[in-house]
Symmetry: C2
Subunit: 408 residues, 2 copies
C-alpha cells in the first residue's frame, strides 16, 4: 500500500494542463491565461486631470490666490480646443484631457466663481494653500504604454484581470479551459434522491456531493447517474465518462465479488496506476489513466462508496488533479492549529478527521468532531477542516499542534 | 465625511437578507439554508457491515480459528434470507445488511475458502488474530435516526450538505437566493471593450471588472451597459437597474457639472444615505436606498469611475452587502503581516494599498506595490491583498505589522 504522498505524486504526474482555447473574456473568470497580453493603448491615453477643477499654469499662483478667465470647459470624452496661457484657466472634469499649455490642476473645492464678461465662461478665483507643478495630473502612458505586456501566461484571471483585458481591448483570450469531470455512482443498493429507499436500499448521496465538490474546485461537472453492478450498464456509462478529463466513480472498488469496476475499466483501456492507499478514511481508492489518441488522457478515480471516504478521497487527490488540469499550481490550504482537548489516535494509517478550526487573535485552535464512522455525513456538515493525524497509537494533549487542511 | 466603519455600518443596516425561496438542491451550492431539515430515514437503514467479509457469532472464534458453513452471500442492496447460527457464516459485502443472529463480521482478508458440500456455498476458515463482538458492524440509525434534525436554518450549503440533503431525500430546499446585482457604467468618454477608443475616449473596463467581482462574491450579475451623461438615458437604465437587489453605478458621482447621477437617482426615489468617505482610493463613493412597495429595497452604490477606486469601493462596501443579502454573516479575510520594507504614508485618509502577501512557516509578510495612481490596474493584477494604512503622515520600518485584507 502506498503512502498519500507517493500516490499524490503519481496523480499529479498523470494530470497535465489542458490545451489552451480561445475563450470570450466574459467567461474567463477563474481560468489561467495561456498567452502574454500586450496593451494596444496608452493608459491614460493623454495627460489627464484626476480631479474636477481648473487647468492653469502653476506660476500664476506663485504669489498666492489669483483670478483667471475661464476659456472653456472640458469633460471626460471631450477634446480641449483652447490653449492655456498665463491668466487663463480651463474648467476640467476628472478624467478629461489636459489642455495644451496647462501644467497643473487646482481642485474645484479651492475655487470661487466670479461673474463672466460675455466673451468667456466667467472668471474664477483660485485659492489653494499651495501649488506644485504637475499636481492632479496623470501623465499619458504612465500606467501602461502601447505594446507593454500587461499580463503573462500563467496568470489567474480574477476580476481585476478581466478589467485589464477590457481596457486593452481583449474581448477574447487564450486560456486553459475548465476541466470536465464526470461522476458515476455504482451499486445495486442505490436509488435516486427523489426516491424512497426500499429495505436494503439507500439514496445516492455521493453524486450530488461530488458534483458540488467538483464545481467548487473549478471543474465543469457531468452527472452520469447510477450504474448497476452489471457489466453492460457499467461499460456504457464508463465509456461515456471517458469523454471527460476526469471520471470519478463512487463505489465498486473494494474487494467484493460484485465489484466489477476494475475489470470493466481494464477492458476499456484504462491502465491501473494504484489501488489502496495508506490513509483513513479512503483506503480502497483506485486510480488509473486512459490514454486516448492525440495525447488526450482521462484520469479515472474510483472512490470508496461511503460518503466520508469519498469526500476525503476527493479532497486529497481529485481536487489537486483538477487544479493541475486547469493550469494552476496546487497548494492545499494547510496550516497548524492547537488541539482544544486531548485526542487519542489508533491505527496504522494516517487519519483525516472532520474538525472545527477557529482563529482568534492570530491563534488557531482545532476541535476534532466525534464521528460515528465514515457513513456519517451529519458530523462532516459541522466541520470546516480536516485535522491530519499521523499513523500510530498515541495520545495528544490539549494545546499540542496538529496539521489541518481547510475545507472550502 | 464619514469613516469607513461608520459608512459600512449604514450599508449593513440597509442590507437585509433576501426572502427565502424553494430552490432545487442541485442549484443550491453556496446558498444559505432557510429551514431546518429533518431526516426521513435511519442511517444506516439497517445494521450493516463496513467491510467485505463473513457475518458470524463471535463466540465461535473464542478458541481461535474455526471453519464455518457459508449459508448465502449478501451484497449491498440485497436483503439476507438466512439466520446465522453457531458454526454458520454468511458472506457479506460492504454496506450490506447484517443477517439475523450474527453479531460480528470478520474481514475477507482473514479468511480461506474450503471446498463446498453441495448444500451450501462452501466452507470457510476464519483466522482473525482476535474478535470483538460487534466488530465491523455499523448499527442502524447510529449516524442519524428518522426525524433527527440534520441541518439547521442558516447553514451554508457546501458539497457535504448537498450530499446530506440527497441522503434524506430533499431534492428541493428553502434557501436565500443569490442576490441580483446590476452594473451600469456612466460617462461620455467610455466605449465598449470591442471598440477602438478615439482621442479623449477610453474603454469601459469597470463593468467587466465589477461583474466578475460580483460573481466572485456570490451574486448574479446583470450588465446594463454604458449610460451617457444625459438625463433620459441615465433615467431609463437606472430604472432598469432598480429591479435588482443592488445597483452599482460606475462613474458620475464626483462634483463635475455633468455628474447628473445623484439628481437622476433622487428623481427615481432613491434616498441618499451618504456621499464621500474618508478613505483612499474611493473617496467620492455614493450610497442610497430605493424602498419599493412590499418592503423590497434596492441598494444603490455610486462607485468612482477610476478602476482602482471602483475596485476598492466594491471590496470594502459592496461585497459585505452582497454577503448580508445572501443571508451570510460577513467577515473580511483580515489578518496581520510584517512589512518587507520601509513604507511611508501621507494623507488624512486611511489608505488601501495593493500589496503582495506571502506566508511561509506561519510567518506572514506583506510588500506594498508601487502604484502609478488609481487608474493603474496593471499593478493591481500583481496584488493578492490590500494593505490597510491608517490616516496620517508617518513612516513604518521593515518588520512592522500592518493589517491586510486578502483578495479572492
Amino acid at each position: 500500500m502506498q503512502s498519500v504522498e507517493e500516490a499524490l505524486e503519481q496523480v499529479l504526474k498523470a494530470a497535465q494542463s489542458r490545451s489552451p482555447v480561445k475563450v470570450p473574456s466574459r467567461d474567463a473568470l477563474g481560468l489561467v491565461l495561456a498567452e502574454d497580453v500586450a496593451s494596444d493603448v496608452d493608459s491614460p491615453p493623454h495627460d489627464k486631470s484626476i480631479v474636477d477643477g481648473y487647468a492653469i499654469l502653476a506660476a500664476d499662483l506663485a504669489d498666492g490666490p489669483a483670478e483667471f478667465d475661464v476659456l472653456e470647459e472640458v469633460t471626460a470624452g471631450d477634446v480641449p480646443h483652447e490653449r492655456v496661457v498665463s491668466g487663463a484657466a480651463v474648467r476640467i472634469m476628472t478624467g478629461a484631457p489636459l489642455p495644451e499649455g496647462a501644467d497643473s490642476v487646482v481642485m474645484v473645492e479651492q475655487s470661487e466663481l466670479r461673474a463672466g464678461n460675455g466673451s468667456t465662461l466667467g472668471r474664477v478665483l483660485l485659492n489653494p494653500s499651495q501649488v506644485t507643478r504637475g499636481q492632479n495630473i496623470m501623465r499619458r502612458a504612465v500606467a501602461m504604454a502601447r505594446g507593454d505586456r500587461v499580463l503573462s501566461t500563467g496568470h489567474v484571471l480574477r476580476a481585476i484581470e478581466l478589467g485589464l483585458l477590457a481596457e486593452v481591448g481583449r474581448t477574447e483570450v487564450l486560456a486553459i479551459p475548465r476541466p470536465r469531470l464526470a461522476v458515476l455512482a455504482t451499486g445495486n443498493e442505490l436509488v435516486r434522491p427523489s426516491e424512497k429507499p426500499a429495505p436494503g436500499e439507500i439514496r445516492n448521496s455521493n453524486s450530488p456531493m461530488l458534483i458540488a465538490a467538483a464545481q467548487t474546485a473549478g471543474a465543469e461537472a457531468i452527472d452520469l447517474g447510477i450504474a448497476r453492478d452489471e457489466q453492460r450498464d457499467l461499460e456504457q456509462r464508463i465509456a461515456q465518462g471517458l469523454a471527460a478529463d476526469v471520471l470519478v466513480l463512487s463505489g465498486g472498488v473494494s474487494a467484493g465479488v460484485l465489484d466489477l469496476v476494475p475489470a470493466v475499466l481494464s477492458s476499456l483501456g484504462v491502465e491501473p496506476v494504484f489501488h489502496k492507499i495508506r490513509m483513513k478514511p479512503g483506503k480502497p481508492l483506485w486510480f488509473g489513466v486512459k490514454r486516448h489518441d492525440a495525447g488526450r488522457t482521462t484520469l479515472v478515480f474510483g472512490l470508496p462508496g461511503n460518503p466520508a471516504s469519498s469526500f476525503v478521497g476527493f479532497e486529497v487527490f481529485v481536487r489537486p488533479a483538477i487544479a493541475k488540469l486547469a493550469g494552476r499550481s496546487f497548494s492545499p490550504s494547510e496550516t497548524h492549529a492547537q488541539l482544544t482537548g486531548e485526542f487519542t489516535h489508533r491505527g496504522d494509517r494516517p487519519t483525516y478527521h472532520p474538525s472545527v478550526l477557529a482563529e482568534q487573535g492570530g491563534e488557531r485552535s482545532v476541535r476534532p468532531l466525534r464521528s460515528q464512522g465514515s457513513g456519517d455525513l451529519r458530523v462532516w456538515a459541522e466541520a470546516n477542516c480536516l485535522a491530519c493525524f499521523p499513523a500510530g497509537d498515541y495520545s495528544l494533549a490539549a494545546g499540542e499542534e496538529v496539521s489541518v487542511r481547510k475545507l472550502s
